[in-house]
């Protein structure tokens, strides 16, 4: 073997590789950025989860000799029911019992009365309280005598707050043991085998299975279109009478079948492997053998979710494949896709990530759903939302892929790229976003919200989040050469448009006040509590920051995104009011809160109608600002003296009637135009 020849072969190959910018990016640049970024993101998410847990009060139900533990004052007879509220029991007992005293003095433990020992243990098993503990009344005496004492707390090992509560109790026990007599804990783990197995394996399993669904779609998809281009078989296919749609959907079905097969095969194999592992690993002293997997209903739901996730990945993969000229070029696009999917697939590894809050974040929702179902916990509402939103997304992605397949400049790439600029032929209408692109943009935005959680500072985080709401559609518009002014409807409205917006806002506020009464105190209270938790810290910084973050930023960003870009996308397929309705639906869905779905949908309808009649994004922006500002003012700045105040039915009906009338008047004002300009400029009719 001649060394010089070997070296010159190696040199030529390396030169060739280094001249391929895509390979360079995928092999060198991306890993340099990807893993540090992933690590940074993941650790900061995990850290904030830990801090959240560290701040949280831990609910503990204590009983005394099996009986409810009450304040001495309550034992007089009256007001027993009052102690159901969270209280910090204090009593003479504490003085003689160092353990109880330390327990009651713990700053993070919050004591709840859940009845006798059996009921308390049940509450802890259900998760209503984090820990249940019976403390016999003779503990103090026995400890003083140096006798051995054993206590039996009930907790749930798969639940982080419950584990934190147990840890707090253990700490106290250690301390007491050092100072007095041997005090031991006989910990009763109320977590089911499935729950423990899910906590142990669910994160890894959901991560691997979702990633394998992506890979399972990608590899065959690349071969199916980019590979056909490379081998020159695509041409013959395209000259057959089969339509592009038939071809692409046929290919898509094959890819989806592969992806479903891959994810289910991985799911089965992993479950089998972990099953074996579970037989060896013991958690809380009990073997987990037979605890890995799903019940029948859970398996059905997981399969459905995986099928739809595979369908989504397949559509994306076929689109990439249609765009790529060669198999190799397509592989280079896999890395950036990974960068997006990987952190989302890790959702199951984050103890604080909840399916309920991330139900419409693609990929993350499937991972969390899988983990939850592994624990044997069913959440039909969140599961339905996750599956439906994924299905909508998969459909939009498929439609976009078909569109891409119908474009000869993409399919043949005669030197021209996807985002190449083309001069419009005279008389050719300017390009506009499509409903599919609008939906896709929203998903990008939702995903951006997930990632912007990394930013620690609340105000900065809001700027990042709402900045992305504008930057994403704007970037797409610039890339696709949509005329920005028309797409975002940034032409000024006539003065009547703004007046109409304010009248609409007044009407909306009237309806909202009644709605919050009708929806019931609990829902309203829950919403306003939630609102206060997120909004109050902002107002505590300063009034201006509060109004900026709660009213101005969301109004500006959400209107440009929804009544600008998304409306334009819907408008390309629907009439003005249909587009307003479709936009409102997405607007309500994006708020990811079942309680607020109705109100946000109605608000979205009015905002969309304003956009339609005024032909501009500014009036809905003004209305949105006014409504948000009023909501913030009424809940935070100047909360009502008596939020539980009930209004007589007649008054409520009159308010709703007045509100609706005001909205109608506002819309009429915004849509009315000077007689001479009738039918010309103005509304989007």
């Amino acid at each position: 073997m001649r060394r010089r020849v070997v070296l010159s072969v190696a040199k030529r190959e390396l030169r060739d590789i280094l001249r391929d910018r895509r390979t360079l990016f995928a092999t060198f640049v991306l890993p340099l950025v990807l893993y540090p970024a992933l690590l940074l993101g993941f650790t900061s998410l995990a850290k904030s989860a830990r801090e959240d847990l560290g701040r949280r009060e831990l609910k503990v139900a204590i009983t005394r000799d099996g009986a409810p533990f009450r304040r001495p004052a309550a034992s007089d007879g009256d007001g027993v029911a009052e102690t159901r509220a969270t209280t910090r029991p204090a009593g003479d007992d504490a003085a003689s019992d160092p353990f109880l005293a330390a327990l009651l003095a713990h700053p993070r433990l919050l004591f709840e009365d859940r009845g006798g020992a059996a009921e308390a243990a049940e509450s802890a098993a259900r998760g209503d309280v984090d820990l249940a503990l019976d403390v016999p009344s003779d503990v103090g005496r026995r400890l003083a005598r140096g006798e051995r004492v054993e206590l039996a707390p009930t907790f749930r090992s798969h639940d982080p707050p419950s584990k934190a509560a147990l840890e707090a109790v253990r700490e106290i026990v250690r301390d007491v043991r050092d100072r007095f007599a041997p005090l031991t804990l006989r910990e009763a783990d109320a977590s089911s085998g499935r729950q423990r197995a899910s906590a142990l394996f669910g994160g890894v399993m959901s991560f691997v299975v979702t990633i394998m669904a992506l890979l399972g779609a990608f590899t065959p998809a690349l071969d199916l279109v980019a590979g056909e281009k490379e081998r020159g078989t695509l041409e013959a296919l395209l000259t057959s009478p089969a339509s592009r749609r038939e071809l692409v959907i046929g290919k898509y079905l094959a890819v989806t079948a592969c992806a479903v097969g891959a994810s289910l095969a991985n799911l089965g194999s992993l479950a089998f492997t972990f099953q074996g592992l579970a037989g060896v690993v013991a958690s809380s002293g009990a073997s987990l053998a037979g605890s890995v997997g799903f019940d029948a209903a859970g398996f059905a739901v997981v399969t459905a979710a995986l099928v739809i996730l595979s369908a989504l990945f397949s559509a994306v993969a076929v689109a990439v494949s249609a765009y790529a000229r060669t198999y190799k070029e397509g592989m280079a696009y896999l890395s950036p896709l990974y960068m997006v999917v990987l952190p989302l697939a890790m959702a199951g590894l984050l103890p604080s990530a909840k399916l309920e809050t991330l139900a419409i974040v693609p990929v993350a929702n499937v991972a969390l759903l899988m983990k939850k179902l592994m624990a044997g916990e069913h959440a039909p509402g969140a599961a339905a939302l996750a599956i439906l939103s994924l299905a909508a997304l998969a459909y939009a992605a498929l439609e976009a892929t078909v569109k891409l397949f119908e474009r000869e400049d993409v399919l043949f790439r005669e030197g021209k790229g996807l985002f190449a600029r083309r001069k419009l032929e005279p008389g050719e209408p300017p390009p506009a976003p499509t409903p599919g692109l609008a939906a896709f943009t929203l998903v990008l935005c939702v995903t951006a919200v997930f990632f912007s959680g990394v930013v620690k500072d609340r105000v900065l985080g809001m700027f990042v989040q709402f900045g992305l709401f504008v930057a994403v559609p704007l970037g797409l518009s610039l890339a696709a050469r949509f005329p920005v002014r028309e797409t975002f409807a940034t032409r000024a409205a006539r003065p009547a448009g703004y007046l109409g917006a304010l009248v609409c806002a007044a009407g909306g506020v009237l309806v909202a006040i009644v709605a919050s009464r009708v929806l019931g105190e609990d829902a309203a209270k829950e919403t306003s509590e939630e609102l206060k938790k997120t909004v109050l810290p902002l107002f505590e910084r300063s009034l201006w920051i509060g109004f900026l973050c709660v009213a101005a930023l969301p109004a500006a960003a959400e209107e440009l995104l929804f009544r600008g870009f998304v409306y334009a996308g819907m408008r390309s397929a629907l009439r003005p009011f249909g587009a307003a309705l479709a936009t409102a639906l997405l607007f309500a869905l994006m708020h990811m809160d079942p309680v607020r779905f109705g109100p946000t949908f109605v608000l979205g309808c009015v905002l969309g109608a304003l956009r339609a009649v005024a032909g501009s994004v500014w009036p809905p922006m003004l209305m949105h600002f006014a409504v948000n500002a009023f909501a913030a003012w009424s809940t935070v700045v100047a909360p009502a003296e008596d939020p539980g105040l009930t209004l007589p039915g007649g008054v409520m009906a009159a308010m709703v009637g007045g509100g609706v009338a005001l909205i109608a008047l506002g819309l009429f004002l915004a849509g009315a135009r000077p007689r001479r300009a009738l039918g010309a400029a103005g509304g989007d009719r």
């Binding site: 081998r231 020159g232 013959a236 009478p241 339509s243 005669e414 030197g415 600029r421 001069k423």
Partner: protein, 253 residues
């Protein structure tokens, strides 16, 4: 055999946008007609616009402006109907490596919506015509270049198209297989089929073509019967071709 045009291309104009090279006019107002029972030769050097023109005929590309009708069907408005009438073969076209010749031809019959027994019948006839029997059930990846070209021909012909469009059909073939292809084209013409045939080989024009369209840099330089072109070159097609191209280069260098 009538003399009515089976295929009419009117004012074909095609522009590509290229990031590096800017705007490229691949076809500049090119019109021609192909008559039934005759072979139309599209003659031009590499990069003249032949492939672009044929891809438009085969509905692979849409013209920037202009129109193509095949037996009265507008290619842009009724692509599916037009495709059913046209068979397209490109010398560069690939075959599915893991698919057998029979499976491949059958698959294209299915894409044409033909019933299974009709497909089977066509496969047998084409296999007999091109003597494909010995390799009909072998994976295409294992076939020789000549055998592959026969599979391509069978694929193009499975639906028995009226108009055959062949783009450099003899490129990269040895003379024996090339002759077989040319023989087939001749027999198809004799059966009343319309053939559009692109080439840069003068020899093929001399031997096969009835009418000639000469294109150069996207422009049509000549359109007429082969005899007329021959006269222009004093009896030789090649000389005529050189004269036309040189004149065009002199007019717009």
């Amino acid at each position: 055999m009538t003399d009515a045009p089976a295929l009419v291309a009117r004012d074909l104009y095609k522009v590509f946008e290229d990031r590096k090279r800017g705007r490229i006019t691949a076809l500049d107002c090119v019109s021609f007609e192909a008559r039934q029972g005759r072979v139309l030769g599209l003659l031009g050097p590499n990069g003249a616009g032949k492939t672009t023109a044929l891809r438009i005929l085969a509905t692979l590309l849409k013209p920037s402006s202009g129109s193509v009708t095949v037996l009265g069907r507008d290619v842009a408005r009724e692509p599916a109907e037009a495709r059913a009438l046209v068979g397209f073969l490109s010398g560069a076209a690939g075959l599915y490596e893991r698919t057998t010749a029979r499976e491949l031809v059958t698959f294209f019959g299915e894409l044409h919506g033909m019933p299974p027994d009709r497909i089977a019948e066509r496969v047998e006839r084409l296999a007999a015509l091109f003597r494909m029997g010995p390799f009909l059930d072998q994976a295409c990846g294992r076939l020789s270049d000549g055998q592959r070209q026969k599979v391509r021909l069978a694929r193009m012909l499975v639906h028995d198209p009226e108009v055959l469009v062949l783009d450099e059909a003899t490129a990269n073939l040895d003379v024996l297989v090339a002759r077989e292809v040319l023989d087939f084209v001749r027999s198809a013409r004799d059966l009343g089929r319309t053939v559009v045939f692109s080439t840069h080989l003068m020899d093929e024009v001399e031997r096969l073509v009835d009418d000639v369209v000469v294109v150069h840099r996207g422009r049509k330089l000549f359109d007429g019967p082969k005899e007329e072109l021959r006269e222009l070159g004093g009896g030789a097609v090649e000389t005529a071709f050189f004269r036309l191209v040189e004149a065009a280069e002199a007019a717009s260098p």
